[in-house]
């Protein structure tokens, strides 16, 4: 694939790469929330790198810290509520130590986010158009008319019918999916270098979803943007992501290329994920096979491997699973896994238990 390299600011990139940094470089990010019941360790040490033009898919348990991760990259946690540590470099600039004002200035053009919850991203008292126009004018020195034209064009691109009329509607006058599309229009309006899309197509039907995924791909091709896509739709990540990070209880438990994650997954939680979803391309099963148990408490994370109370293989590791937290280790070719299973046991379990059922 040919990348439009000329769009990258060459000077910065060279310096960045000399320092060994990726365009987005997240190092040991931790986000903890002190609450009355104890400290919620929503994100507890995650690291990943993402280059321009590439897409990282983040999948994982509900409550595993995916949204909190992206909100902290965007600098959107309310001051005082979250304890954040670690480093997040965006094109060489550390966002964690930057002032709120500096980070605010980066939002829109440098980085933008499609939120999981469209209502929280939109103000109920202003029209949809007003909000897009305002966001656009922050980063573009244009007249109101020009910004309005741009807003209508963006609403059109995300498939809002009669955008020139609907631009003056209020968020509550839109259907769930239309609100989501309006928010996507807002996020994409300034062609961000980094786009974080948190469940961008959850409320959308598949034909519009296909359209939005095309739109994200277009953005990436045109502006060489880096994209993080957070979703529980494994079909969507299979289609978009170059790399996939699987999260559980505030940490990455598996990381590799999309091909590896789908064809040679290594972690029992990933096996559970792949096994529990209904698939339209396979014979219909009578009953889905859920992962047993419930997601862990992030205040009292189970000792050892946080997945052990729900794992069918925990007993195979001579007690290690219950006592020692497995590190995320490279098992070859950059495929990283946090699990105590020996390579032999892992291979055997995959081939006899899991693979035949997927």
């Amino acid at each position: 694939m040919t990348e439009p390299q000329d769009l990258v600011t060459p000077q910065d990139t060279v310096q960045r790469i000399e320092r060994g940094e990726a365009f987005l470089d997240v190092r040991d990010l931790k986000v903890h929330f002190p609450t009355d019941d104890g400290v919620v360790k929503s994100v507890d040490g995650i690291s990943f790198r993402l280059e321009r033009g590439k897409t990282l898919g983040i999948v994982g348990e509900s409550g595993s810290g995916k949204s909190v991760t992206s909100l902290s990259i965007m600098g959107l946690h309310k001051a005082g509520t979250a304890r954040i540590s670690g480093e997040v470099f965006l094109d060489g600039q550390d966002l964690i130590s930057a002032s709120r004002e500096e980070v605010r200035k980066l939002r829109g053009k440098r980085m933008a986010m499609i939120f999981q919850d469209p209502l929280s991203a939109m103000h109920p008292f202003y029209t949809v158009g007003h909000q897009i126009i305002e966001a656009y004018q922050v980063h573009n020195d244009v007249s109101k008319q020009v910004a309005r034209k741009h807003a209508v064009a963006m609403l059109d691109r995300v498939g809002i019918p009669q955008p020139d009329k609907r631009v003056d509607a209020y968020p509550h006058q839109f259907s769930g999916g239309m609100r989501q599309r309006a928010m996507i229009a807002m996020a994409l309006s300034c062609d961000p270098d980094l786009l974080i899309a948190d469940e961008p197509t959850t409320a959308l039907d598949v034909t519009v979803q296909a359209q939005i995924l095309d739109l994200i791909r277009d953005l990436q091709r045109e502006f060489n943007s880096a994209v993080i896509i957070i979703t529980h739709d494994l079909g969507v990540v299979a289609e978009l992501a170059d790399d996939i990070q699987v999260m559980y209880a505030g940490r990455a438990i598996e990381y590799s290329t999309a091909e590896d994650i789908f064809d040679r997954p290594q972690h029992p939680y990933t096996w559970g994920l792949l096994g529990s979803m209904p698939r339209i391309d396979r014979e219909r099963s009578d009953r889905l096979i859920p992962i047993k148990g419930t997601p862990p408490s992030l205040i009292n994370v189970p000792p050892g491997c946080p997945f052990n109370p729900r794992c069918n293989y925990a007993h195979l590791n001579g007690g290690l699973s219950e006592t020692e937290r497995p590190e995320l280790l490279d098992i070859g070719n950059g495929h990283q896994v946090a699990c105590h299973l020996t390579p032999e046991l892992r291979k055997q379990s995959w081939e006899t238990d899991i693979k035949p059922k997927l």
Partner: protein
């Protein structure tokens, strides 16, 4: 690979008892302009639906965003007043039933909401939210409301100790489970579930899908399921209705809909499903719908799909195709349907 369905128990017999019947259901939202707020038009959100739902079945509504699924759900639960048409529940016409008379019905018909954020009061504890239906309906429970609520929380995979926590302390998926627990409190007969699992990750989705199935079997529940995930819909539904721009374009039992879809829009929908298989990335053949999504304020005449349909002929722009039964239990509104009985080899939407 095709969507072969070997499950013989698939479609329940259509001779079952009718729980809900809808005829000519219409909802138009007026558009008002100016100081005088004069009505200048209407959003034709739902424009003439006919269907019946059988006791104990799962009937799903799918279709493009904005096609009127949520509005239909809100009409069925009488959270919205129908503009026209008729809704009959358990033999009683509830279309315009007064608030006083509808109270007992509110217990029988519950809705799980699409938006797990907007539907939970942020100032109330989980205990208060899930326990609210008992209070509203003055229902006494054995061992008190708290115990009942804690049982419900466990039922949906939350922990009883969440009783005193607030919605903002939960992730999106956890909040949806709170909403489901609240819905189940009064053991309703009919649950209208608007995207009940779309906010959940797959491991919990499977639990909730199985949970909804178990509850259905145990309490003989009937579901009207609104969902956009066609893989989930295939798994849970007995029958599926496909909507487009306020109208039903196809109704069939699950097997027929997925294996021999007749309406071009249904084919397009099925072909757009993302397949969790990276090897298909390059070669998935999609039917890309052309043209703008039309507006429900000013929908295209006759067949509403004609502006985007690759099979459209002149007649499609002038004569509205009626919803006709073309095979047993399989209704389609199209002048040139695919997969007609006795026609060519079956075409499926999912690229094989």
């Amino acid at each position: 690979m095709t969507t072969t369905d070997t499950d013989s128990t698939a479609a329940k017999s259509p001779t079952g008892e009718e729980l809900l019947s809808v005829t000519g259901l219409v909802k138009h939202f007026p558009i008002r302009r100016g100081v005088l707020q004069r009505q200048t038009g209407a959003v034709q959100a739902v424009d003439g639906l006919d269907f019946t739902v059988t006791k104990g079945e799962t009937f799903s509504l799918v279709g493009e965003s904005g096609c009127g699924k949520t509005t239909t759900g809100r009409l069925l639960t009488r959270l919205l007043e129908p503009t026209a048409g008729k809704i009959v529940f358990e033999g009683r016409d509830i279309t315009h039933m007064s608030e006083g008379k509808i109270r007992p019905l509110r217990k029988d018909v519950q809705m799980i909401f699409q938006d797990p954020y907007g539907s939970l009061n942020p100032r109330h504890t989980v205990g208060k939210i899930v326990g609210a239906p008992y209070k509203l309906q003055h229902v006494k429970t054995e061992g008190g409301t708290k115990k009942a609520v804690q049982e419900l929380l466990e039922l949906v995979g939350l922990s009883p100790e969440h009783y005193n926590r607030y919605p903002h302390e939960f992730s999106g998926g956890q909040r949806q489970r709170i909403g489901i627990a609240r819905t189940l409190a009064l053991r309703p007969k009919l649950i209208v579930a608007d995207e009940p699992v779309s906010a959940l990750d797959v491991s919990i989705q499977a639990q909730v899908v199985n949970l909804l199935e178990d509850l259905q079997n145990e309490f003989d529940l009937t579901y009207v399921m609104i969902a956009h995930d066609l893989s989930v819909v295939r798994h849970v539904s007995d029958r599926v209705a496909v909507m487009y721009l306020g109208k039903i374009v196809e109704i069939a039992d699950r097997v027929d809909l997925y294996e021999t879809p007749m309406h071009p829009y249904t084919l397009a929908l099925l072909s757009a499903v993302p397949i969790p298989d990276t090897k298909r990335r390059a070669r998935q053949e999609r039917i890309r719908l052309q043209g703008d999504v039309p507006s429900p304020i000013n929908p295209p005449p006759a067949c509403r799909f004609h502006t985007r349909c690759w099979k459209a002929q002149d007649i499609c722009k002038t004569v509205e195709p009626p919803l006709l039964q073309l095979a047993p239990g399989h209704q389609t509104a199209c002048h040139f349907p695919e997969n007609q009985p006795g026609g060519d080899a079956p075409k499926t939407g999912t690229a094989g």
